[in-house]
């Protein structure tokens, strides 16, 4: 009988821990406990205010049962239409710009200087929050949907270029090389060697980004960059929970529809 088995025999089996190193395990656990205590000590919760608010919370949940689409119908529709317009325009422009940047950010097809520049653009775009970009662009371009459109285009570039570049980097080299060996120019090489390989994923990601852009466009109105957010904010400020509930329901329905469509499109292209 092996010594390993002898050592185990007669003992009750115990589940192996998730973090195997005991020092690390207890260290992480005690650090976590210390953090929780520190967080609990410094966070201020006004429980009486919370208790008072529960009433209004209940009202809001009830408002979902009786959403009011009618009394602010024109505001809701114009806001929603503007959100959709911003979403579509920003997605189109963002995707168009992110394709060349995505090509530039793929190490296997771009020279090093181009690669560095494109990765830099991607990093900046990803690090900046949409809402912060929107604040700056509203300050620069004035109130209105143009600022929202530019914000979402900018955010789309970071997201799509990064994922596109990663997809290009993991593509099958031999196909691209076969096209190149037939004497293709650079543009032909990209068009026939690279593009067919990444197209399904690009289409899928674009649809996904459209979905994200719509969700983000709902908050741009909070800082004056157009869309449904301004209407929603007003509704909350005036405690018109039934109108707010109507807007939220519309947003959820549109997002669900977009998700459903994107599922179909992705299943078809892949």
């Amino acid at each position: 009988m092996s010594t390993e088995l002898e050592a185990i025999l007669g003992k009750t089996w115990r589940r192996p821990p998730f973090v195997t190193n005991p020092m690390l395990r207890w260290g992480l656990l005690s650090a976590f406990c210390a953090y929780m205590v520190a967080a609990y000590m410094t966070i201020e919760i006004n429980w009486s205010r919370v208790y008072e608010g529960l009433d209004r919370g209940g009202q809001f949940i009830l408002a979902f049962m009786t959403p009011d689409f009618v009394s602010r119908a024109s505001d809701i529709w114009s806001g929603l239409l503007e959100s959709i317009i911003i979403t579509v325009a920003a997605s189109v422009v963002g995707i168009l710009i992110s394709i060349p940047i995505g090509l530039g950010a793929a190490r296997n097809i771009a020279p090093l200087p181009v690669y560095m520049i494109c990765r830099g653009i991607v990093a900046i775009s990803r690090a900046l929050q949409e809402i912060i970009v929107a604040i700056l662009l509203v300050a620069i371009f004035g109130f209105g949907p143009l600022a929202g459109f530019l914000t979402l285009s900018f955010a789309t570039i970071g997201f799509l270029s990064k994922l596109l570049a990663e997809d290009i980097e993991s593509m099958d080299r031999s196909q691209a090389e076969a096209v190149r060996a037939s004497g293709a120019r650079w543009a032909q090489w990209i068009n026939y060697g690279v593009q067919p390989q990444v197209m399904p994923r690009l289409v899928g990601l674009s649809i996904y980004r459209l979905d994200i852009n719509f969700r983000e466009s709902a908050i741009l109105g909070l800082v004056g960059a157009g869309g449904i957010g301004a209407t929603l904010n007003t509704a909350f400020d005036r405690y018109e929970y039934d109108t707010a509930a109507a807007i939220l329901i519309l947003i959820i329905v549109i997002v669900m529809a977009l998700e459903y469509i994107s599922g179909i499109v992705r299943a078809r292209v892949q």
Binding site: A89, L146, V223, I252
Partner: protein
């Protein structure tokens, strides 16, 4: 293979004539939709301000540089609040997301007909509404402050965590579950010994990934009054204190980069 006849020879083409007509029609429709959208945006824009934009931008830049470095002494507490909002929000959302995920996964749900659709609805509803909107709502209900931010982040993250988690649960190896069941384990024992060990790495990865996203989101929650560094950002913006704004933006940028680095390290260690 679609070919084109030209001077008696066959030339390879990518699409048949019918396909290429359909293709062009699709592009044309897309272009028309974009043109209409652009027209609407253009109508709603005051173009005078846009032509003036480079001057305004350079004006803001000169006002915002150099950042007011002394102001950082007042930012310690807001950063701590931001960290708390993100971390506590993530923890609460994970506690709520785990049951939702088990109810939504088709192999663990008690009832596919009734409970699974409800769980999926919770996932979609919490996912599709941005944390800023949740924060707006919660401020109206429970008053401004860090707690509203924590709850907003928690609610918003349920959908994301539960979705990824239930996908992980659906992909588990059924053989291991069957082996545990064959030993005579109860339903909860099967859960604890057959399913949980398989999804644990995915769970840890999701938690850290969402924490990273939540750090980003909690930096701006203050704009609507839900605590954190966004509160300082919004008050600095309101009094046009651009040197403070630029410092806060720098701090946010550093926080985002650090959290992304931490999350990448931890996920690399797990997976």
């Amino acid at each position: 293979m679609p070919v084109k006849h030209q001077n008696g020879t066959d030339i390879w083409r990518r699409r048949t004539t019918k396909q290429s007509v359909a293709h062009s029609a699709m592009w044309l429709t897309g272009l028309a939709i974009f043109a209409v959208c652009w027209q609407q945006i253009s109508n709603a824009t005051t173009w005078f301000f846009v032509w003036d934009a480079p001057r305004i931008a350079s004006d803001i830049w000169t006002r915002a540089t150099p950042p007011r470095w002394e102001y950082i002494s007042q930012l310690g507490r807001p950063i701590w609040d931001t960290l708390n909002i993100a971390t506590l929000g993530t923890l609460i959302s994970l506690c709520l997301a785990v049951p939702v995920a088990f109810l939504a996964a088709s192999n663990t749900t008690p009832s596919r007909l009734f409970i699974r659709p409800i769980a999926l609805l919770i996932i979609v509803a919490t996912r599709s509404i941005n944390s800023l909107i949740w924060a707006l709502l919660l401020i109206a209900i429970i008053g401004p402050g860090v707690f509203a931010g924590v709850v907003a982040i928690a609610i918003r993250s349920i959908g994301f965590c539960a979705k990824l988690l239930y996908e992980a649960i659906e992909e588990i190896d059924a053989v291991q579950v069957e082996a545990i069941t064959a030993t005579g384990a109860s339903r909860w024992q099967v859960m604890a010994y057959g399913i949980v060990p398989q999804i644990m790495p995915a769970f840890a990865g999701i938690a850290v990934f969402r924490w990273d996203i939540n750090i980003r989101e909690s930096t701006v929650l203050g704009l609507v009054g839900a605590g954190g560094i966004g509160l300082q950002l919004s008050s600095s913006l309101n009094v046009l204190a651009w040197p403070q704004v630029s410092l806060i933006l720098l701090v946010i940028l550093v926080a985002v980069v650090i959290s992304e680095w931490v999350s990448a390290k931890v996920r690399g260690a797990i997976i």
